[in-house]
Subunit: 130 residues, 2 copies
């Protein structure tokens, strides 16, 4: 998303994005699809195709990016069901889901305060001081 933010006005193909993170274009395309579904980018096929941001970086929050790309709770629960014989086990999952929701909302509030433009600015600052 940071690279797309720099190349704001033209399409950028998955092959070039893949180069920037040393991976395979298909890996990138899988992520691009999630970003599309979240309405953050558009992609065009054919020559001069690729992906573009739908909004200016000032109007994209890290919360949106994270929600698009990272599903699942803030902390993991153990895979198997607790024993129903145990007075804790019967109810702990429900209680911990509420806790995870609450923690997730706190995380979202924080990430809502950070925009893609903020990230780009910090990237540029590191760049100039290096």
């Amino acid at each position: 998303m940071a690279v797309l933010g720099l190349e704001k006005d033209h399409c950028y193909p998955s092959t070039r994005l893949a180069e920037t993170v040393n991976t395979n274009p298909v890996v990138i395309r899988r992520i691009l699809i999630e970003l599309q579904e979240a309405g953050l980018i558009s992609t065009l096929r054919g020559p001069h195709g690729g992906s573009v941001l739908n909004r200016r970086p000032e109007r994209v929050t890290l919360r949106e990016i994270r929600n698009a790309v990272e599903k699942g709770q803030v902390f993991g629960s153990h895979p198997n069901k607790p024993s129903r014989k145990c007075p804790v086990g019967k109810n702990i999952n429900k209680v911990m889901m509420e806790v995870a929701d609450r923690a997730g909302r706190a995380l979202e509030r924080e990430l809502d305060k950070i925009t893609l433009a903020d990230v780009l600015r910090e990237v540029r600052e590191s760049e100039s001081s290096a």
Copy 2:
């Protein structure tokens, strides 16, 4: 930890803890060691051994439990290094680490507000309304 909170005053062996979550005692013991290192519990060997809470549930926060057990950042970074030819790639890791720190602190602030006693109370409430 919830079970240990209920059994506040006597030691509880890993084999019994394992039964409550339908898993193997060794899996439990690996987690117990992390909780010990964080100073949250003590364990005794020999007959009538097992683990006990070091503090009352009112004085244990979910932040402490999470920090003991769940290492690592709030969101994952991709495994391989970004290209240094890319103006974003050179600096994005540093910037994203700062962002992850900030998000992690927000999460910790929230989990600091929830104690093990709160969790036990909610477990009991679900219990009585079921």
